[in-house]
Symmetry: C2
DNA sequence: CCTCCAGAGTTGACGTGACAACTCTAGGGA
DNA sequence: TCCCTAGAGTTGTCACGTCAACTCTGGAGG
C-alpha cells in the first residue's frame, strides 16, 4: 500500500513536538499579554481589529468576518469586554445593537499592548528562527490555510 | 538598532498565516474526532495515554506528567470522563482516590479512534509536507520546546 | 396589505483550560 | 509523641470556544 494506515514513529515524534511547541509558545505569549497588559489574547485580537478600523467602529458581523470567528463567539467576547469596559456597543433608537467601538480604556490598552506583543513574538519566535525554517513554516502555513479553506468552501 | 521595536510586514504575514494554519488544522482534527468517534481531542489524549500504560492504570500525577497538563486540568477532565464512563477511578479502602484506568467502553473508543486519527494527521499534515519542510519544522519544534522548558525550569 | 424568510445579533448549555485555595495523608524531625 | 510540611488530589471560579436555538427586523413576493 502506498498509504500506510498509521504513522511511522518518527512521524509521531515530529507531530508531537510540533504540537507541543505550538502549545508552549502560544501559552507563553498569552501569559505575557495577561501579565504585562492585563488582557487576554482574545481581547487583544478584538481590540487590534477595532483599532485598525478606519472609524474605530464596526458591525459585529464585520468583526466576525475580519477575525475569522463565529458570530456567537464574537457576541460572547463582546459581552465580557463590555463588562470590563474595553468596548461599547452602540444602539439605534429602538435599542437594537448596531455597532461596536473602543472605549478610551480599550484604546489605551491596545496601544500599550501592541508594542510589547510584537516584541514578544520577535523574541520567542523570530529570533530563534533560521531563514530556511521560516521559509518552510511559511510555505506550509499557506498550503494548509488554502487547502482547508478550499475544503470548507466545497464541503459547504 | 539591531533589534527593531516592531515586526516587519512579512514577519506579520508569516506569523498570522502560521497562527491561522494551526487554528484551522487543529479544529479540523478535533471535529473529525468528534464526528467519527464521538470523543474530543482532550479525551483522546487521556485515553491514548492510559492505553499505552503497561497495566492500563496510572496515578493522576503520572497522567499529568505524561500529558504535560496541570493536575487540576487532569482532575476536571477525569470527572467529565468518569461521567461519560470512559474511565474509572479506583479507591483504596478508606475511599481515597488512588488511580485511574480505562473502562471497556473507553478501551473500545481509543482503539477505534486511533487509526482514524493517525490517518487524518497523515492526510492533513504529512501528505502536504515536503521532506525538507519536515526537517525544518522538526528542528524548530525541538528548539522551541527545549528553550521554553529551560526558561520555565530556571524561572521556577 | 400580509406573510414569510434570510440575515444580524443574542443567549444558553456545555466542554475546555488556567489559576488559586482547599483537604488529606504520609513521613521526618523537635 | 506531636507538629508540620510536602505532595497528591479535588474543588471553585473565571475566561474561552462551539453548537444550537432563539429574537428581531427589513425586505421580496403573494
Amino acid at each position: 500500500m502506498a498509504k500506510p494506515r498509521t504513522l511511522e514513529p518518527e512521524q509521531w515524534e515530529l507531530w508531537n513536538s510540533w504540537m507541543q511547541a505550538q502549545r508552549l509558545l502560544t501559552r507563553e505569549l498569552d501569559r505575557a499579554l495577561q501579565r504585562d497588559h492585563g488582557i487576554s489574547k482574545a481581547e487583544f485580537s478584538v481590540l487590534v481589529t477595532l483599532h485598525r478600523a478606519a472609524e474605530g467602529r464596526m458591525r459585529v458581523s464585520e468583526l466576525a468576518e475580519s477575525l475569522g470567528w463565529e458570530k456567537s463567539r464574537v457576541a460572547h467576547q463582546l459581552t465580557r469586554m463590555e463588562n470590563r469596559e474595553l468596548v461599547d456597543r452602540t444602539e439605534d433608537r429602538s435599542g437594537r445593537r448596531i455597532g461596536v467601538g473602543l472605549t478610551a480604556k480599550g484604546r489605551d490598552s491596545v496601544e500599550d499592548a501592541i508594542l510589547g506583543h510584537a516584541e514578544n513574538i520577535r523574541r520567542h519566535f523570530f529570533d530563534t528562527l533560521a531563514p530556511e525554517q521560516a521559509a518552510a513554516i511559511h510555505a506550509w502555513s499557506r498550503q494548509t490555510v488554502d487547502r482547508i479553506e478550499a475544503r470548507c468552501r466545497e464541503g459547504a
